[in-house]
Subunit: 489 residues, 2 copies
């Protein structure tokens, strides 16, 4: 990331009065990038080049002192560990810019950046050890984030005396820093741009339309150059009753137009779904309490949207008073597996009661639950899967297998407790005589046990091939078991 730092006017209201952008050029390419005012007469333009080599830049502005400034720089090759931004790949999946797959294993901590510094640091230490590679987090605080030290996105007097025509740059510098720290940890920051948990306390859920637009442009100008940023227009958008469906269309389009890099864009629902078929939605971000209890449910949205489906909220692990926060760790992990078998992705969070109110879902801190080690194991299994992504093997048939035809099959038995699995595969791509090896996976106890020998298949009926000797694979009669079948040549 390149940051250009320019001196400019400090008088008046630079947030509103001063327009600044730069055009970055390499060969025939031109990329227009908005700058932003960072206070005290300083203006910044951040740029994320996607190719190495020489670039030049030239500023545009409505103010003479910021106009026509030029420069050049050499973009170096990405450092090891920098795989670039994540985008949609193979219709239903994600990949980094360097071609490697992004196997989304998400979590949510809405207001972790609005907590005391020590707690923010503890959250980062937790994330460094956790299995998550995406974090949903809100720009705006929750209505219970009322600590005296707290900074807000706008200058003024809490709870309602805001100057909506300016931004509090210290607030946004903290956000920048936290996003950069996530980037260093290999974690995508799914930035929630609006949410309903303000409930009028600060009023950030019901700002005037022009303020919303300026706020979105400012966030994009500051943060789009961070390669790990995703844009989530809202959490539970339909609970933001002051905004219309047309407003959401507009916000999507504004962000899409302002972001030079095309970061991922989504919107998360409560009871009503946004129309994720709209072209500016890159992937469906879904809250649903029951869809990931069964791969045959979870696959349905995929068929509708022809985009990646991320079940960002599937209820939470915890002991909360409300039913959406009472998943056992086993049920939390089960949802990730079912989502994967449906060719989709799932998000975690937890809400265990805490005497100090330190709850991961809202404030971050430490994780109390038992699902994270199992999700680390799950992520390891994903990482060993075909890099194209897991595809349902025989959808619409209650066949809980995903993978890649004739190469790789991952089957998950959910809450069932089978004593054996007959070695039978759906026909696509198969021929008599193909050979496979098998492993039994205990997704809860985190073991992978190879099955002795290989399985040679022959056609069984119109739809399936089976082991030529009719063999089955023994299973321990416990729930949460999986099998992995890999072609051998």
């Amino acid at each position: 990331m390149l940051e250009i730092d320019l001196a400019g006017p400090a008088e008046g209201n630079p947030f509103v009065d001063v327009a600044l952008s730069a055009v970055f050029r390499q060969g025939a390419r031109e990329i227009a990038v908005d700058g932003f005012y960072d206070g005290a007469g300083r203006y910044k333009i951040r740029f994320m080049p996607d190719t190495a080599g020489a670039w030049t830049w030239e500023t545009r502005s409505n103010r003479a002192e910021l106009r026509g400034r030029t420069g050049r720089f050499d973009a170096v090759q990405a450092a090891p560990g920098n795989r670039g931004p994540v985008s949609v790949r193979n219709t239903f999946h994600f990949g980094y810019a360097d071609g490697s797959p992004f196997w989304q294993v998400g979590t949510t901590s809405y207001a972790w950046t609005h907590q005391p510094d020590a707690l923010q640091e503890r959250t980062l230490r937790t994330l460094a050890m956790a299995p998550f590679n995406k974090l949903r987090m809100a720009v705006f605080p929750n209505n219970d984030d009322a600590l005296a030290h707290q900074r807000f996105p706008f200058p003024g007097k809490p709870p309602h005396g805001w100057d909506f025509s300016r931004f509090d740059v210290d607030f946004f510098r903290n956000l920048d820093r936290r996003v950069a720290q996530l980037r260093a940890l290999g974690i995508e920051a799914d930035l929630i741009l609006f949410h309903p948990y303000d409930k009028g306390k600060w009023g950030f859920d019901r700002m005037p339309g022009a303020v919303n637009d300026r706020y979105l442009r400012y966030v994009v100008a500051r943060l789009a150059a961070y390669r790990n940023v995703w844009w989530s227009m809202a959490n539970e958008f339909d609970f933001l009753t002051e905004k219309t469906m047309d407003d959401w269309d507009h916000y999507f389009q504004l962000v899409q137009a302002a972001d030079p890099y095309g970061h991922l864009r989504s919107i998360h629902n409560a009871f009503r779904l946004y129309n994720h078929t709209k072209p500016w939605v890159t992937h469906a971000s879904i809250q649903h309490g029951a869809a990931t209890e069964d791969p045959e449910r979870a696959v349905l949205y995929r068929d509708v949207y022809n985009k990646p489906v991320v079940y960002d909220e599937v209820k939470y692990e915890g002991d909360w008073v409300k039913r959406w926060g009472q998943l056992t760790p086993e049920e939390m992990v089960l949802r990730f597996w079912n989502g994967a078998i449906a060719g989709s992705y799932v998000g975690h969070s937890e809400i265990y009661k805490d005497p100090g109110g330190e709850i991961w879902l809202g404030k971050g801190g430490t994780l109390k639950g038992q699902s994270p080690p199992r999700l680390a194991f799950f992520r390891r299994i994903l990482a060993e899967s075909p890099h194209e992504g897991l595809e349902p093997i025989d959808k619409w048939q209650d066949h809980p297998f995903a993978g890649k035809h004739a190469e790789y099959y991952l089957g998950y038995f959910n809450r069932d407790k089978p004593a054996a699995w007959p070695f039978v595969l759906f026909k696509t791509g198969l021929r008599d005589g193909m050979k496979f090896r098998a492993e039994v996976i205990d997704t809860w106890n985190m073991t992978v046990t190879p099955v002795d020998g290989t399985f040679e298949i022959k056609r069984r009926d119109d739809y399936t091939f089976a082991d030529k000797d009719g063999r089955s694979i023994a299973l321990p009669g416990r729930p949460y078991m999986a099998v992995r079948i890999v072609r051998v040549r």
Copy 2:
């Protein structure tokens, strides 16, 4: 339905050369209606008035002898049994124009109108006794409808020597007559305008674009005035590989523009879903083999589309060699119940082997299956439900109840075999002291058994109310059981 019969030019090719329409006027209203050439120098304009009273009409044409013809007539009140056309109501449901609900219980017989007359008559006699109020049927024949006597939509020599610039009016007169006979039986005709079962045999699946457009306009001109017509753009549209998604958008829009009455419009899929959120789609017509095995699956499409969802194909009752034609009657009936509990609708068909090839799905005739009596029983239960339609009571929670909060609950236990159901209702609309009566429904054995006494509720927890004395309802431990709970005052 009014039919205006006019003499006009017979020379040349009137199907292509002559444009004819009429404007029907009542007070300030004007409705433009296309006419059609019916052979032998006769032109027809059919009109379905939606209000009683005096109407006038005046023709428009590119031919002098058909131009400026005028008339007037009095539309009388609808006769008993004529409830008018069906349209969407309450977002997810259907209703007749007279305000009564349309509880869709569909079946499919693609090519029944392409069979020998005696078989067509037998199909009608079967339908007269069957529980179905909607029939999916194709305009074009299947590739195995090769009987010597058969008429085709276009004049010419089978299999490929068609004059696509003309229509065979006898073919279409038979179609008119059959649609009228269905109308008399109270059955909606869901006319499938294109399908892939031609497979190039007759070539009706791959006609030039201009022919497709002329064909659609001709069908709409002939049939839109039949109140029981629905337009299904295609069966398994994605198997019609000669047509693009843009073509389908175009056909939808053409039919929408040509139809003066706004009949229902849908399109049926094989493996790929059309984007049913598009504005010209009135309801989602879905093929899915597994979605109606569970109400929690079936409800998902509803949430996506915010339109009625009709699972027109859910596999078929039968003993066919392919797995899509092997449902037991029990499984066929189960799918209707699950669909209803999800606030959606389901379609039947059957494919039992027959020595003479008389298979209901393809050719009609008689029904061999055991589901129809149970579907008649099912339809009776629907008809006794709130006329607004069955709405899921607590979606996303594996709660298999639909109905109307605080008034009516229909619960269905699917393949489970509970010995009892604790009287517990989801909270919406409930207050302590409300009273309900209950019935146990055996959906397979077609019995409704009242439960003694009434149940008085009190709040149990954050989400539910229960019988104040903690009572349960005894169930027989069989599958396919339901309970019906109705408020008493």
